[in-house]
């Protein structure tokens, strides 16, 4: 009787985040700018030009296998850093259960970065939100529209130079000011008792 041996290997122990950072550094020595660490969370700061190549490598490499894009967002470092924006990718591997954070630097005068949708299709709405709030253009994105704000909204609300209380009433979103104007006109028909 033939015995078929079935081996199921479950890898629960992932790589140390510092080792992952070293691996990225080894693979893309000219792309990695810095490796930052905060409370055992390791961030790899990279250049934006080859960002998608780095992410694709992280996704496809069998030892790393980052199949889950936990979050994609941006940070505005206006007045704090020379390069104003950083697009942040929080990655997780469901197979090895390890994390890494990738930060790609995007300068203010040319807020463009390649889209990560070909790597993780879940990046779609994250990038739309990022575009909506920070005005970062993701080139190659299939449908880059605003996702939260109205489509004809002006400005990018989460930028540090955006007024906290929003635009002045005369420069506010026309969809809102039109209703205010119309309701003021209709007020004469209100019941006064």
């Amino acid at each position: 009787m033939a015995v078929t041996e079935v081996r199921i290997s479950i890898h629960t122990t992932g790589l140390n985040p510092k080792d992952i950072a070293e691996k990225i550094k080894g693979q893309f020595p000219d792309q990695v700018i810095d490796v930052a660490e905060f409370r055992d969370q390791v961030s790899v700061i990279i250049k934006r030009d080859q960002a998608v190549a780095v992410l694709k490598y992280l996704h496809d490499d069998p030892v790393l296998s980052f199949d889950h894009l936990q979050d994609l967002t941006a940070v505005d470092y206006k007045g704090k850093k020379d390069i104003r924006f950083e697009v942040v990718y929080n990655l997780y591997s469901t197979r090895y259960r390890h994390h890494i954070r990738i930060r790609a630097q995007v300068p203010e005068n040319d807020t463009k970065i390649n889209s990560a949708v070909p790597v993780w299709s879940g990046a779609d709405w994250h990038e739309r939100e990022c575009f909506d709030m920070f005005g970062i253009e993701f080139t190659g994105h299939p449908d880059l529209r605003r996702i939260l704000m109205p489509e004809d909204w002006e400005g990018y609300p989460l930028r540090k130079d955006y007024p906290l209380k929003g635009p002045e009433l005369d420069k506010d979103w026309p969809g809102f000011t039109d209703v205010l104007k119309r309701s003021k006109e209709l007020r004469e028909f209100d019941w006064e008792g």
Partner: protein, 119 residues
Amino acid sequence: MMAVGASHYDFDRFGIIFRGSPRQADCVIVAGTVTKKMVPVVRRVFDQIPEPRYVVAMGSCACTGGVFRTYSTVQGCDTFLPVDVYVPGCPPRPETLLEGMMMLQEKIRNEQARWSPWR
């Protein structure tokens, strides 16, 4: 609002019945933050209510915008709706909303010649 509608507080015993459409309603309760993007929609819902109609602003956010003095929030739904009763609280207690609705009923009771020529 869910608690007031349910049996413990019970809107129904005061003759307040939830309707599925603004066209069948006498009153709208604005229950929560109104964002600028939502304003045209809220106004359209209000415009669909047949006269006589009333507005209750429920909660701090609907009354004044609450803590959200931001780019996207409307600072009180009275900027674009004729509000009759303001129900404060964050969130309001069920009793508070009930009190607000009873105040509205009182207001309606004291009105002359609005619902019909003889009342």
